[in-house]
């Protein structure tokens, strides 16, 4: 049987998944999945919607039980030692599940109380987090009065209140403006070496910026793993070009898709992106385009998005 090799890292592993499968009736969300995450590192699980990322996070945070296989967090089994795991982890879920009948601060206080923190400890910590995430002046507001970005920051603050050893971040910066995103990324980076971060995202830039190790997942299975640089190397054997045409972009895309030397192609914001199997094929490609339609053609470095496109033939957000 072809099983993905667990990543081998020198530090003790904080998160271990061994041949985990999760099925909902006939639908298999995660198939025979294995990985190891070393302590103090940032791990990224990259994949499109429905790839199985959230199911894996739910298993690791003890919300779901695996159908088969084993998983542990902080050395504790996810099925047997749920309470021990939950005292070690902080979770930023995909949805902003804030309590809309409690103020921003009260949301954080409730979380702290559940972690049995004393008022002197949690008040100090909450003040620091609200200040860090620029929410101090909105702490008495109820979540519906906060913008989407503020709510997201509040969810991140809530996950950090008890200073967890391991953080699970399920698309943590969705809906944030670039400035807030950068603020949170910098904070996550500051935790490197001290805390373990398990991040799911479909933002290539986020994975590239934060993660020490990445697994690309699709349809519940690993399709590639390694560092961001290693993954990009996988795309090095292809040549990436962006083509802008004045009109008929979709028609040209269909034409390109029939060409034998095209490895992958897609339409992104009206721009055709192609990867060629051979470097010398560019001339043959350009011949397909009416010179009057051609606006611009440029080459570029492969990104993690290209890796996914090359491996699956689809874009992450399709």
């Amino acid at each position: 049987m072809n099983r993905p090799n667990p990543l081998i890292l020198p530090m003790p592993n904080e998160i271990e998944i061994s041949h985990v499968t999760k099925a909902y009736g006939k639908l298999v969300a995660v198939k025979d999945f294995s990985l190891s995450v070393a302590g103090g590192t940032v791990f990224g699980l990259l994949g499109p919607n429905g790839a199985g990322k959230t199911t894996l996070v739910s298993i690791l945070t003890t919300l779901l039980k695996p159908t088969s296989g084993a998983a542990s967090v902080g050395g504790h089994d996810v099925v047997r030692d749920g309470a021990k795991i939950r005292s070690l982890i902080g979770v930023v879920p995909q949805e902003n599940n804030l309590d809309r009948y409690l103020t921003a601060r009260e949301n954080l206080v409730l979380h702290a109380k559940m972690h049995r923190m004393s008022p002197s400890d949690y008040n100090r910590r909450i003040d620091a987090l609200l200040s860090l995430l620029n929410l101090a002046d909105r702490q008495k507001d109820f979540p519906p009065k906060l913008s989407g970005g503020m709510q997201r920051r509040l969810v991140v603050a809530r996950a950090l209140v008890h200073d967890p050893q391991i953080l699970f971040l399920d698309e943590p910066t969705t809906g944030l403006d670039p400035q807030a995103k950068r603020l949170i990324w910098d904070y996550f980076l500051s935790l490197k070496g001290k805390r373990t971060l398990f991040l799911t995202t479909h933002h290539m830039e986020e994975a590239d910026f934060l993660c020490d190790q990445i697994i690309i997942i699709d349809n519940g299975s690993t399709i590639a793993s390694g560092t961001a640089a290693q993954l990009k190397d996988m795309a090095e054997s292809s040549w990436f070009y962006e083509i802008e045409v004045h009109s008929r972009a979709e028609e040209y895309l269909r034409i390109f898709q029939r060409l034998p030397f095209i490895d992958c192609s897609s339409l992104q914001d009206g721009q055709i992106e192609v990867c060629l199997k051979k470097e010398g094929s560019l001339g043959a490609l350009v011949e397909q385009i009416n010179p009057r339609d051609l606006k611009r053609i440029s080459s570029r470095q492969p990104s993690l998005e290209d890796v996914f496109l090359k491996l699956t033939g689809r874009r992450l957000r399709q």
Binding site: T62, L63, L102, K113, M114, H115
Partner: protein, 251 residues
């Protein structure tokens, strides 16, 4: 164990306290309307029941109804809202508390809310009518209300756990809970039922509550069968609420 229940109960009481004025207006409106209509409006047309004026006859039932509807609503809509809409149950579940803590916390919240609502309507109706009760009778009456609130908070939490669509939750209240309340002799004595039907009516936990509570308040008598029926209902509904919630969460 139970630390999580306490956190959730404190949260729910904070929210209840914050909304106290709007809650009070809503809670008072329903039983006061019934009292004005049946207790005062129709009292001239209805003769005394077992020597008790009709207005006095309906008051204990109206208080009980407010209490158990409060407990049921808080249990059912509270659980449903936190589970389906707000998804705060999911947030609670990634904290170091147990699933049992969560459901017990919600049941205690439903119970507290119902009990407080019943008490506030009771005070209001007693002031309005000027009826005076023996304090010991009142304690016996509160025992029934206490148990009734536990039963209906558990049943509400169970409904909020199992039912995903809000319209079905509304239907359950309209088609099951309200008929059970009205059938239990809220507005008329059970002696009006035919003998063939009466045993079934008496088997309803709502009858044990409404008839038992009225008997306790007006005469000071605690019917042991009614009390046992309520205790059993409370135990069964608690076990069902906890088991089904645990099952749903661990599915």
């Amino acid at each position: 164990m139970m630390h999580g229940s306490l956190c959730i109960w404190q949260r729910d009481m904070r929210v209840l306290q914050r909304n106290i004025s709007s809650e009070a207006a809503t809670v008072m409106a329903f039983p006061l309307t019934f009292f004005l209509t049946f207790g005062l409006g129709l009292k001239g047309y209805i003769q005394d029941i077992d020597g008790i004026s009709y207005a006095l006859f309906v008051v204990p039932g109206l208080i009980s109804m407010t209490a158990i509807l409060g407990a049921f609503d808080d249990g059912s809509w509270g659980m449903w809202f936190h589970r389906v809409v707000q998804k705060t149950i999911e947030e609670y579940r990634v904290n170091p508390i147990t699933v049992t803590d969560i459901i017990v916390g919600k049941i205690i919240s439903g119970f507290t809310s119902g009990f407080l609502k019943g008490l506030s309507v009771g005070v209001c109706l007693l002031l309005l009518t000027g009826f005076q009760f023996n304090p010991l009778f009142l304690l016996a009456y509160l025992l029934f209300i206490f148990l009734g609130c536990i039963v209906f908070s558990c049943l509400g939490s169970l409904a909020g756990t199992l039912i995903d669509k809000p319209e079905n939750l509304g239907r359950l209240e309209a088609v099951v809970v309200m008929p059970f309340i009205f059938l239990a002799g809220l507005f008329f004595p059970l002696s009006t039922y035919p003998d063939s039907v009466l045993p079934y009516i008496k088997a309803l936990p709502t009858t044990a509550l409404f008839d038992g509570a009225r008997l306790a308040l007006l005469t000071g008598k605690i019917d042991p069968v009614y009390l046992a029926e309520l205790l059993l209902s409370a135990a069964i509904s608690f076990i069902l609420a906890v088991r089904f919630f645990e099952k749903k969460m661990h599915a």
